[in-house]
C-alpha cells in the first residue's frame, strides 16, 4: 500500500521546535481518583516525538484513563500534563483548544457521527476547526479513505458499515486533523475477530510511514510487539515496568508483568 501520499506530513518548517528536551508529551505527578478509587497514582512519564508507546496491563489499571486525560475528556486531580512544550493541564480553555489540535484519538466504539455520511464525518473538523476550504477538506478526505481502503464509501452512512470499516473511517477522521499525537484506545476490542487483522495492518502501515507519535492501549500483544518503541506495563495506577518490546515480552523483570503476559499471550 502506498501510504505516503496522504500521510507524509507537510508540516511547516520548525514544527516541534518548541519541544524542549526533545519530549513531546510530559505527565508529571498525575493522580486521578474516581471517588475513593485511585486510578492513577503520582504518574510520571514522557514520550519523545515520533515514538510509538504501548500501554499494557490488567483492566482497571489506568491505561485508558491516561489517553482520556491527554484528550482532555477528563481532568486529573493532581499533577500537570504538557504536550509539545505547552501546558494542557492546568490551562485556560483557549490554550486547551490550541494544544488539543495536536492530538487525535480513535475510540473503542468508533464514535462516528451517525447523522453525517462518511465523507462529512472526516471533513467536519478540518473545515470547522482548521478553517480548511470544503473542497480541500473533501479532497484530503478522499485520499484518506483511499488509504484506509474505503474510497467507495464516501456517501455511505456509518451505520451501514461493518465495525472494521467504521473503525477505518474513524482512523481517517483522526488523521484528517493532522495530529502530532494519535491516541488509540483499544481500537480493535469491539470488532469481530475476522475484522481485527485489517485494522491492525492499517495501523502498522501508518506507524511505519509517518512520524506521528502514537500512544496505544491494546490487548493485541503481537501488534504491540510490532509497532512499539516502548512498552509500559501498568498495575494499580502505576507504571511498574517499562522497556523495549523485546525486553518486556521476552524477559520482563517484574513477576507481575510475567504473570500478566502469561495470562494474555
Amino acid at each position: 500500500m502506498s501510504a505516503d501520499t496522504p500521510l507524509t506530513k507537510d508540516t511547516e518548517p520548525g514544527a516541534g521546535a518548541n519541544t524542549a528536551g526533545g519530549e513531546l508529551i510530559r505527565l508529571a505527578g498525575v493522580t486521578k481518583r474516581f471517588g475513593t478509587n485511585t486510578v492513577l497514582d503520582d504518574l510520571n512519564f514522557t514520550v519523545d516525538p515520533g515514538k510509538h508507546v504501548t500501554l499494557i496491563g490488567p483492566s482497571g489499571s489506568g491505561k485508558t484513563t491516561i489517553l482520556r486525560l491527554l484528550m482532555t475528556l477528563t481532568q486529573p486531580d493532581e499533577g500537570t500534563i504538557a504536550v509539545d512544550g505547552e501546558q494542557l493541564f492546568p490551562a485556560p480553555e483557549k490554550q486547551i483548544r490550541e494544544v488539543r489540535k495536536k492530538i487525535g484519538m480513535v475510540f473503542q466504539q468508533f464514535n462516528l457521527f451517525p447523522n453525517m455520511n462518511v465523507l462529512r464525518n472526516i471533513t467536519e473538523a478540518p473545515v470547522q476547526v482548521l478553517g480548511m476550504s470544503k473542497d480541500e477538506a473533501e479532497a484530503r478526505a478522499r485520499e484518506l479513505l483511499e488509504l484506509v481502503g474505503l474510497a467507495d464509501k464516501c456517501d455511505a452512512r456509518p451505520t451501514r458499515l461493518s465495525g472494521g470499516q467504521q473503525q477505518r473511517v474513524a482512523i481517517a477522521r483522526a488523521l484528517a486533523m493532522r495530529p502530532r499525537v494519535l491516541l488509540l484506545d483499544e481500537v480493535t476490542s469491539a470488532l469481530d475477530p475476522e475484522l481485527v487483522a485489517g485494522v491492525l495492518d492499517l495501523l502498522r502501515d501508518i506507524a511505519r510511514s509517518t512520524d506521528i507519535t502514537m500512544l496505544c492501549v491494546t490487548h493485541e500483544m503481537g501488534f504491540a510487539r510490532d509497532i512499539s518503541d516502548q512498552v509500559l506495563m501498568f498495575d494499580g495506577g502505576r507504571v511498574i515496568e517499562s522497556g523495549s518490546p523485546e525486553k518486556i515480552f521476552s524477559d520482563p523483570e517484574q513477576d507481575r508483568t510475567r504473570e500478566f503476559l502469561g495470562a494474555v499471550l
Partner: protein, 216 residues
Amino acid sequence: MTWDWNAVSGFMPHFWDGLRVTLEALALGSLLSFTLGLVWTLLMRTPTRWVRWPVGVVTEFVRNTPLLVQLFFLFYVLPEWGLTFSALTTGVFAIGLHYSTYTMQVYRAGIEAVPAGQWEAATALNLPRHRTWTAVILPQAIRRVVPALGNYVIAMLKDTPLLMVITVLEMLGQARLYSQQHFQFTEPVTVIGVAFILISYLASLLMRALERRLVR
C-alpha cells in the same frame, strides 16, 4: 332527534372558516412550542444558576397551571397592563407557551439519550461548542424525539377548542355559534367531531412518514 342534512350544508361554510382557524392555531402553536421548548432546554443546561433558576420556576409554573386559566389571564388581564393582542395571537401564544413546557422535557430526554461517545468524539476533534450542538448533538436528539413531539401536536389539536373562550372562532366556536342561531346542535357538533378525528389521523400519518424519513 332527527338528522338534518340541510343543517350540515348550512353549517359547512362556517365549518371551513373554523377549520382554517383551528389549523392556523395548531400550526403556529406547534412551531412556537417546538422552538420555545428547545430554548428552555438549552437555557436549563447553561452553567449559570441565575439563568437556570428563573427558567425552571417559570416553566414549572406554566406546566402546572391549566391552559384555560392561562388563556383567561393573557386575554383579559394583560390588556389592563396595556398589552393588547388579537384573540388568535393570544391563543397561539398561550398554546405554544403551555406546550413548550412539555416539549422541553422531550428535548431534554432526547439530548440525554445521545451517547457520551458522541460528545467525546466532538471534543477529540476539537469542534467548537456551538458546532458540537448544531451539527452533532441536536440532529441526533431531535431525530429521536420526533414521535414524542408528534403526540404533543395531537394533544394541542385537542386543546384548540379552548380558544373558544377567548372569542376565537375555531371549529367549536363556529359550531356553537351556528347552533345558537339555528337551534340545531347535533349536526354541527358531529361535523367537527368527525373533523377532529380526521385531522388527528392525518397528522399521525404525517408524523409517521416524517419518522421514517428521519430514522434511518
